[in-house]
Assembly symmetry: C2
Homo-oligomer: 362 residues x 2
């Protein structure tokens, strides 16, 4: 059965690869010959062990992680990580550096402060409305970790290269660009990513943590808020969000076996980015909000000459099967989120629509 | 397409109503005409607002909750509630009573103690291996709340009637029997239930909280660990576990519109319980582990004459499309979980198999 589908530019939850959705649908009443749905099988079964182990193994292969790294699946989204990171890794008397590149990094620092932790803002791009990624940052030599947000969904910026922290463990919220490109994971002590943008549905956060970070976890935390609870139980201390982990596994399988890995994925994402940014740069009608060297390949934020035209643009785009183009409610404007599952064809269709809209309204 | 399905007696994740699974499958590529999957739509969309509001409204109708109660959807399962409850509701210098009816109530009390909270075990059935529910309990007059586990999945016991706390707010983990029967919610200050047994898939915990409990929440907690964060945002402070909430909504719709409400559901569950317990009582071969007055209508725990026969029973049952009959790994034996979605036909098929197995091996 052929379903009517739109081009989905949502910022998250976002488009997922069509073959993944089809596999979920086709096996939904009978998973792997079990006679049960994936949502009905026990998390203690061989079936689910295979799912969660494969999801972790594919993560390690795709990101080229060495044996010091553990892949955990935790509920609560990146927002829960904002407090779990300092709760687990920052002792009283110690301090951590945070780079403020917008809403989500600010929230991460705020939750650390709520806990009474010592946090220093090592750099910020607030002076120019978070339209760029700070460069040449001096980090505190005594910082226990440096926290960054690798991609900023609201402002449409992304770290092109990660900062040199002179050996201080990097911690990054990679919710909106994990698995979108190849990068060297070695400087990272911890990476976390809410799944609902690039790797799966809402309801699970992937946490990649290195051995030396696990050693910092205090014994006195509630069980569900300790990273060691998850690392020591293969994320099966209590019932995990099985369906979300299962979908991540299918997305990673698609990434490895259909797309062909992260180099290939990055190549496609660069083509998508080039298609839309080069068009935006060729006209005065649309105006990108991020500085060119800091532009995100995941979230393309732009404005039209006025807000009325923006409303009209979003409305007419939706009528043409191009959905999710409204900017974040906190900043307005337009945003095309072009995560891994968004195809080049989708981006080209959007650019064609933008051209037509400009001709009619420019 | 007719799928091969088994009779699923898993303790959780567990069987879900077949019409719910079919609706998810049939609309999985195009939810409500959106041209997107339910896992691809924005949690800030009208589509998802309708889903989460309907799930909450049906909960309030089914449980006959008055306007003082708020229905929240929180990640992390009941296990996260074990720490969130005391973190939010129990101040330093105050004390709460816990009734220990087995593994899960003990874990709830343990997490409160990890937080340094004052907890008193008001009653326990540990003396008889948790095979019964304590009666005539004297609660501490200064207890801020009384915590119970309404149904004990591992030991197969269930509170037939809730204890009289003389006005002290009751708090219950109802993960394994919520929506299985009619009860008076008024004595309850808070009810929580991991969805993966009676109301949905893993990945979301339903929390029902009363106004006076919300007033106890300290301002200084991390945002994701405060009940007020969820009550003030309609559970949309950050991205909720959309798919799990959506499935809960479908299950509750089925409960209201197909089953006909909780009175009807309870009637069916009593018939299922009678079918299996009356058979167990009629033979020496099978032996129920819970005391008759404390037996669970959700988890029927029983032993066979020896462990070899139990292994054989579980294996041959599985070969006859009766799955999930192994007891919890901490206690062994056999367990048939017969939640709402398990049909009377399924229970009768199980009883027939038990009879045949006894004839061959008794």
């Amino acid at each position: 059965m052929k379903e009517k589908r739109i081009y989905n530019f949502n910022a998250g939850p976002a488009a997922l690869p069509l073959p993944v959705l089809e596999e979920i649908r086709d096996s939904f009443l009978n998973f792997a010959g079990s006679g049960m749905s994936i949502v009905e099988i026990s998390h203690r079964s061989k079936w689910f062990d295979d799912v969660i182990n494969d999801a972790a193994a594919r993560t390690k292969r795709l990101l080229n992680l060495d044996e010091r790294y553990h892949v955990l699946f935790i509920q609560g989204g990146a927002s829960l990580q904002f407090c779990m990171v300092p709760m687990n890794l920052l002792k009283d008397g110690e301090s951590a550096d945070y780079v403020n590149t917008g809403t989500w990094s600010a929230k991460a620092a705020k939750e650390a402060k709520i806990l009474g932790k010592s946090v220093k803002v090592a750099a910020s791009s607030e002076d120019k409305n978070f339209s760029y990624i700070p460069k040449n940052i001096s980090f505190s030599s005594d910082a226990v970790y440096v926290h960054i947000t690798s991609n900023n969904t609201i402002k449409g910026t992304q770290w092109a290269e990660f900062p040199d922290t002179k050996g201080i463990p990097l911690i990054s919220d990679m919710s909106s660009d994990i698995m979108s490109r190849r990068f060297d994971a070695k400087p990272f002590g911890l990476i976390y990513a809410g799944a609902q943008k690039n790797i799966g549905p809402a309801g699970v956060c992937m946490v990649i943590i290195r051995d030396d970070m696990l050693k910092r976890v205090p014994a006195t935390l509630p069980s569900m808020l300790k990273y060691t609870t998850f690392s020591e139980s293969n994320s099966l201390y209590n019932t995990p969000p099985c369906f979300s982990v299962y979908t991540i596994r299918l997305v990673l399988k698609w990434l490895e076996e259909t797309v062909g890995g992260l180099d290939k994925m990055e190549e496609i994402n660069r083509k998508k980015g080039a298609a839309i940014y080069s068009f935006i740069d060729s006209t005065e009608f649309y105006r990108g909000t991020a500085e060119p060297g800091s532009r995100s390949l995941m979230n393309v934020t732009f404005r039209l000459p006025d807000e009325e035209l923006e409303k009209k643009f979003i409305k007419e785009a939706a009528e043409n099967n191009l959905g999710g183009l409204k900017g974040h409610r906190s900043v307005g404007g337009c945003r095309a989120s072009v995560y891994n599952a968004t195809t080049l064809e989708g981006v080209e269709t959007l650019v064609d629509f933008m051209k037509t809209f400009e001709k009619k309204n420019g």
